[in-house]
Structures are given as C-alpha cells and as structure tokens.
C-alpha cells in the first residue's frame, strides 16, 4: 500500500457512472417539414436550398432548388409566393424574401451559364407532352431526367404558354423565359412548335408514344352577354395580350374599358396604359373581393389605372358604355341598384376568365369532364389509362407554380406507370410550427426590399417593374431563414447540455446523443432554435 494517508482507493472517473439510467424520456434528432416547403405548390425544398445560399454556395443552392423546379428565374418573378405567407419568420418580424432569393439564384444561373445535369440512363420509353407551358415543360424536365424520350408539341410559335402569351413583359422579360425554357431543350427534349394536336389518341399512335401528358392550359376567353350596338368594339383580354407578342399590336382606341377584377384584367389594363391609352377597370364587386392580388391592384393604381368598383356594364355603344352601380347584400353578393352612369369608351376588353379547349380529347373513352376541366386521379392520370393531365386544364388553382408542381407529380407517376408500378411519395415529416422554435436565438434582421422601377418608366415602357437583389442583399436575405425544423449546426445542443451528453460529429455531420449520460432534462430540446430535436418517452 503506497497510497496517501487515509486513502484506500485509486481515483476514478465519473464516467463510470452511467447517469443515462435516470432518464424517463430521451431527446432525439429529427427533421421537421418547414412550413414554406410544405406550402410550395411546386414542392421545393426551400429551407434546403436557402441553407446552401446562406454560406454563399449559390450554385449548390441552384442545383438543390432545380431538383424540384427548373424555373427559378421565372418563379422569382411571377410566382405568388404563398411560401412567404407561411414562413415562420413572419411571426418574428417579416417573412424571409424567399422569392427574391429564388430570383437571384435563377438570374445567377443564367448569367453563369449553369447547365442541368443530363439523365444518367435512357429508359427506352417515349412520352408525348401536349403544351409547352409551365406544366408541360416541367413534366418534360422531370421525365427527361428519369431517362425517357420526351417530345413536346405546342400549337403556338414559342415555348412558355401563358407565361409568354398572357403574362406581360414588364413582369417577365422574355430573355429570362427563353433562357429557362432552352435549358430544358438542352437536356435532349424535342419541342415541336406550331404543331397543334387535334386528336391525342391518333397522335400517340402515330408517334409510338407509351404515355402522354396533356397541359393545354385554358385559352378561350369567357364572353359575357352585353347588349351592344354594331359599332361597339368588344374584344377579349387573352387575345389582346397574345397580340402583344406579335407584329400587329391591338387597336383599342384611347379610352379602354377593362371588364373584370382578376389578374388578367389588371395585366391588360397595365399593358394598354403602357401603350398610351387610358384604361379603366369596371368590376362588379369591391377591391377586397376582387380575385386579383392586392399588390397587383396597388401597382396598377400607382401607374394610373382607374377602377370603378361595384359596377357592371349594362350596355356598350360605339363611343360610350352604360354602367350600373351595384351594392353588396348581407351575403356579400353584388345586387343592382338601378343607378346608371355613362363612361366614354372606345373599346371594351373582357377579362372574365378562360375556358379550356378540349378539342383534342374528342372521342377519348373514359374521360370525365366537369365544369369544363378534365378530372384526374391523385396520380394525375385522366380516366383514360396512360393519358395524364395537369395545369390550368385540370381542377386546381390556376397559376404557374401549381402547373409546375403538376408537371413534376405527373412525371413521377408516369415514370412508375411506364414500368407497371405505382409511385408512392415518401412520407411527409410533421410540420415545424412556430411553437416548435426558440426564436430568442435569431438576431433581428428586417427584410430586404426589392427595388421598383420609377413610375414614369412604368407608365410608358415595358421594362421590368420589379428589380432583383444583388449578391450582398441576397446573401443577407437567405441568412434570415430560421432553418425551421432542420439542424443548421448552431452547436446549441452541444453547448447547453449540463451533462456533455451531446457528441459533436464535425462540420456537416451534425450531432449525436450519448445516451449513457443523457439524463433527459430536455434543455437541448428547449434551446434548439429551429425545433430539430424532440423528447420521446423512454420505455421503462
């Protein structure tokens, strides 16, 4: 015994004491679904691509983004970004400017000439896509990536569908549209323009196609019964916007009455304003009831577009029209008041919505058409096996992002169908609600505002109205992301554990619990900023 006085045991380490046995519940790491991702109609992994952008990895961010949506530069301009309405940061200060970062990445890709990766193998299957709008081109992209031979046929002279013949240039410059469309063609997709499909079954048979995806949109302007004199000039909004893309600009006169309260009405009014006319919108309900987005109405008003709310057109003459004032009843429906007014008008543009031209489906057995749109199953297949459909021609919200989402979903299902299987999407993680976060940790950072073109140029030219972010502002904006539900390696769990029971695995590798010592206090869960840890009851 050569131990000091009164000492009989060698010093030991407390590591011998496995305090993990005290635990009644255990922390576990998990990925929750960020609300933005959950909301995105195109199913983008927004938090995932923002994560790359946060450290300046723009190309990695763009590659991550385009896994789901090949059109970030378009999205960054025309998407109504419902993701931002869902963004948790909105409960702290303002939502992350997801859409503006997306545009930055899209523009950067065009500038740097980043290319999409070609398919790894050829499947030997042939798929026909009808319509080169967002839905058709999105499906083309995903199907091509999966190795299928894809042919897109479109009746029109250019790719883009309503993005070219509806959405005006001042919101979507054509170079941007062309660049992102061409990138799909570069993947080896065959696009046949000026090629209307009259009968889908014949076309499939002739071309030897194994499946088809239809995305013909909704292009027939709805008419309204307006008593009018012979000389009255009444046209529909879609034709007006379409003619903007051609040589012959529409002749509408000086005073142009636009009838309707949707986005198309706003776009047509803003377009004719830029051509030097004086547009006035007539809409039967109030501003807050109008289907157009409020920011679009606001931008139109700023540019000098006039609006007559609560009014319907009673009669259209050669140089003037008669409108009747309406009043909302208790249920919020407009009712006639018997009060009339005349307005000077050289022409009336109807912007009352669009119908689908289903001519190519004549004689196809099994189809179900309700309210003028084609019914599809959850896998996007119509009632006729092997014919899938999406975008504006199926029952859904009509916008570019929904159309893109349909294209992706249809592609995955067509791919499975072609090999006699059914596509089962991976189970969704639970949503990372705001209550799961610890907002204390995020530094205050107000949203970066995108620059707007000056008002004079907005009234007289077709230059793009909204500008983009530059590198520093885009980086700042990306870093405003809270990384909801997904570990961003802030080291909090590793730091706050009083028992050193969190093992840091190193950059990019996240963390691991050491359950030998974790007492289950729950501090790591409470102090995780982004809600990427949860407590689970221990089975005792």
């Amino acid at each position: 015994m050569d131990k000091p006085f009164a000492i009989t045991l060698n010093p030991g380490s407390s590591l011998a004491n496995h305090t993990g046995s005290w635990r009644t519940s255990r922390p576990v790491y998990l990925d929750r679904l960020p609300p933005c991702n959950s909301q995105c109609p195109a199913g983008e992994d927004i938090q995932g691509w923002l994560f790359h952008a946060e450290s300046g990895g723009y190309e990695a961010a763009w590659r991550h983004l385009t896994r789901d949506n090949p059109f970030p530069a378009i999205m960054g301009r025309v998407c109504y970004h419902s993701c931002e309405a869902a963004c948790n940061r909105g409960k702290i200060d303002e939502a992350v400017g997801i859409n503006s970062v997306e545009r930055f990445l899209g523009d950067e890709a065009v500038k740097q000439g980043w290319k999409l990766a070609p398919p790894e193998r050829e499947s030997g299957k042939k798929v026909l896509i009808v319509g080169a709008g967002p839905s058709g081109m999105s499906a083309a992209y995903h199907l091509r990536k999966l190795g299928h031979a894809v042919t897109v046929m479109d009746a029109g002279p250019y790719m883009g569908g309503m993005m070219r013949f509806g959405i005006p240039k001042y919101r979507l410059p054509r170079e941007v549209l062309d660049a992102e469309m061409q990138r799909i063609v570069d993947l080896g997709v065959t696009v046949k323009l000026n090629s209307k499909v009259d009968n889908i079954l014949d076309e499939m048979k002739q071309g030897g196609f194994d499946a088809a995806f239809l995305a013909v949109g909704a292009h027939i302007g709805k008419r309204a019964m307006i008593p009018s004199g012979d000389a009255a000039r009444i046209v529909d909004a879609i034709s007006v916007l379409r003619s903007m893309e051609g040589e012959d600009k529409p002749l509408l006169g000086r005073r142009v009455v636009v009838y309707g309260g949707g986005n198309t009405a706003i776009d047509v009014a803003r377009t004719v304003k830029r051509m030097g006319a004086e547009p006035i919108i007539v809409y039967r309900r109030t501003r807050d009831k109008a289907p157009a987005h409020d920011f679009e109405i606001e931008e139109a008003l700023q540019e000098g577009v006039m609006v007559k709310w609560l009014s319907t057109i009673k009669q259209a003459g050669d140089k003037e029209i008669t409108i009747e004032k309406m009043a909302l009843d208790d249920k919020g429906f407009p009712q006639p008041t018997g009060e009339f007014e005349t307005l000077e008008a050289d022409s009336v543009v109807l912007a009352l919505g669009q119908d689908v031209d289903l001519g190519l489906l004549n004689g196809v057995p099994g189809l179900e058409v309700t309210d003028g749109v084609v019914k599809v199953a959850p896998n996007m297949m119509t009632g006729h096996a092997g014919i899938f459909a999406g975008g504006d021609m199926v029952p859904a919200e009509r916008n570019v992002t929904v159309a893109v989402g349909h294209g992706k979903k249809a592609a995955k299902n067509i791919d499975a169908w072609l090999s006699g299987q059914t596509y089962a999407p991976p189970p969704k993680h639970e949503v990372a609600q705001f209550e799961k976060l610890n907002p204390w940790y995020y530094a205050d950072a107000p949203k970066t505002v995108r620059p707007m073109l000056d008002i004079i140029r907005r009234q007289s030219t077709f230059e793009e109205v909204q500008g983009g972010l530059d590198e520093t502002t885009a980086l700042f904006e990306a870093r405003r992301c809270l990384s909801c539900g997904n570990c961003f390696e802030c080291d909090n769990c590793y730091g706050v554990c009083p028992d050193n029971a969190v093992i840091k695995l190193g950059p990019g590798k996240r963390f691991q619990f050491n359950y030998d010592y974790c007492k289950g206090c729950g501090m790591c869960v409470a102090e995780c900023p982004c809600g990427a840890i949860k407590m689970e009851a221990e089975e005792i």
Binding site: G12, F476, E489, G522, P529
Partner: protein
C-alpha cells in the same frame, strides 16, 4: 474571443456556435476539443444550471490559462455531485477543503505558486476559487473579503442559485425576496423570504475596489466566456457571480434552466454587468423587456404569489427591485441591439 456584435449572420452570437462565423469567432463551448472540465457522469440533477455554468466558466478559464489552472472548491452541490469518493468529474487539478474557506485555500495556492516561481520552479499556473452562494455570500464571506482586500491573485467564481441547495434548499443571503425555501416558508403576513434582507455581493466586491467584478448567467454564453477570459487576463483579486438556476430548489422544469436565467436578465431581476476598480464599465442591455411575473410564475418557490388571489402588492415590490436594477446599472433595452 471578445464581446463583439457580429454583423448579422443569421443568429449573430446568440447561439453557442454558428457555422457562418470563422472558427476563432465561435465560443469555447462550440469547440470539439473543449476541456469538458466537468465531465459526464456527475450526479447533478437533470438540467442543473450550476453544472452547466461551471463547465462554461472553467472551460473558458482553461483556454485563457493555456491549461495551467488549479481550482479550489467550497462545499456545496458543485463539490458533492462532482466528487463522490473515489470518483471525480473534474478534468483539471481540483481541491476541496471546507464549506467556508475556498477563498483562503485559493489564496494559499496562489502564494505557493508565487514562491515556486520565484524559486524558478513551475510555470505560470493560475488559480480559481469557486463555490455556491451560501459558501460565498454567507459562511465564506470573511475569507472572500480578505482575499479581495489583500488583492490576492485569484479569480473567485460564485455560482448563485439563491439558496443552500445541497442541504435541502435553505435560505442564504442571496435568496430573493418572497422566495419560499425550507427556512422561509410561505406563511404569515409576509410569506417567503422577507424583503429588506440579504446582500448583493458583486456590489460589495466593487466596494473593495478590486480590479474586476462581473455578473453573468448561463443564458448568455458569449458574455460569460468573455468575462471569464477578461478576468483571467488580469492579475489580482477578481470576482464573477454567475446566476445558475436550480430546477430542484426553484421548483422549475428541468428544461427551463436557461430560459429562467434569460428571464432573470431580461426582467432586470438579475443585472448583468462588469466593473473595474469599483466602477461599472458596461451592462448587458435588455433585449426583450418583460414584466417580472414572466420569470416568477415558472417557479414553484413563488407559487404563493399567484393562484386565485395573486399577491399583487408583493409582485409590485419585486418589480420595483427590478426597475431599480434597470436604473442603477443602465439596463434599458436599446434600439439597434441585436
């Protein structure tokens, strides 16, 4: 590392680490090679703020002293839960003697090191003394005042959990007003710990005009590390009091330890500041101002203030104490602070 506000990098310096910061700008605790001075397997309660605070402080002191550190520890939870014979959780040279003499033991060690250095033996070994609030503000106070007055080269760290927790939650002179403890029961006309008693040792330390006095909490890691590092860069007597919530003694949920420390600071109940030679030099401003109820209501030791008939007047007196701290130490929320 110094206390600097990082230009917005998503979480600034609020989180322990931050992948967007250069490694040298991250906290000691973010480091994969941190000392883990107080290692796993210790017997502290679930969610113990003292165990956490001690590792935060001593790991930082180890970096600042380049690993040349000895700690003297007073009796109390920190000692009892870390060293049941023959085990130890300490990964640094560490000594325990008595409840009330940690400051004196540390003074002795510092004196011995000085002599050894004069004789050319041993390098620049630094000394930390540490203890609970009972061991510091009550029984060890004489030794502590002596250490200050002689300006001995020791950093004394008091882990303030507001009571004698190790022996069953008795009152100390650092127990807050109105708090229930085993010796201040919520009975009679003024239930809980009486108002007008107790003391705030950081202010008394300042009165000794020692080179450095600071307070910190386990909710502000970067601030805590900055203060320990700064203190270790100074010779002479230094004092840091760290607020370390105690789930057991406070009657709080184990996962709320950091939240409670944060609320103590954000309500003004616990002023976080630093002072040099008796003068306050800086204070950590309140970021999200809150009424004291937000802090009190999470703790069973204040449960008698709430319920059907809330003790409005008592809560108002506690609010007045917090407001006084805010005035005295200049804790007002400032615009532009992240």
């Amino acid at each position: 590392m110094s206390l600097q506000t990082v230009k917005f990098y998503q979480t600034g310096t609020f989180t322990v680490g931050n992948r967007l910061l250069a490694p040298e700008e991250r906290s000691v605790q973010a480091n994969m090679q941190r000392t883990n001075s107080l290692n796993s397997g210790h017997r502290a309660c679930q969610g113990c703020g003292e165990a956490l605070g001690a590792r935060y402080a001593i790991d930082a002191a180890m970096i600042a002293s380049k690993g040349q550190l000895i700690a003297a520890n007073a009796t109390g939870c920190l000692e009892v839960f870390s060293t049941p014979y023959p085990e130890t959780s300490w990964q640094i040279p560490w000594i325990h003697s008595l409840f009330g003499n940690a400051a004196a033991v540390a003074t002795g060690i510092a004196a011995a090191i000085k002599v050894k250095r004069q004789k050319g033996q041993g390098g620049d070994v630094r000394v930390v003394a540490q203890g609970g609030d009972g061991g510091t503000t009550d029984i060890g106070f004489g030794c502590l005042s002596g250490m200050f007055e002689r300006n001995d080269d020791v950093l004394y760290i008091c882990y303030d959990n507001g009571g004698y927790m190790n022996t069953g939650v008795q009152r100390s002179s650092a127990t807050p007003s109105a708090a229930r403890t085993a010796t201040t029961m919520p009975l009679g006309p003024e239930p809980g710990n009486p108002f007008g008693q107790g003391k705030f040792v950081p202010a008394i330390a300042m009165a000794h005009e020692i080179p450095y006095v600071a307070t910190a909490t386990v909710a502000d890691l970067r601030d805590l590390e900055y203060k320990v590092t700064k203190a270790m860069g100074i010779r002479g007597a230094r004092y840091i009091q760290i607020l370390v919530p105690c789930p057991l003694g406070w009657g709080a949920a184990s996962q709320d330890t950091i939240l409670l420390a944060r609320l103590a600071k954000e309500t003004g109940i616990f002023p976080v500041f630093e002072a040099e030679f008796g003068e306050v030099k800086s204070a950590l401003p309140i970021r999200r101002p809150q009424p004291v109820e937000e802090y009190l209501k999470l703790q069973k030791r204040f449960a008698h203030l709430f319920g059907k008939n809330p003790a409005v007047a008592t809560i108002a007196r506690i609010q007045a104490q917090a407001d006084k701290n805010i005035r005295r130490y200049g804790l007002q929320a400032r615009k532009g602070d992240h």
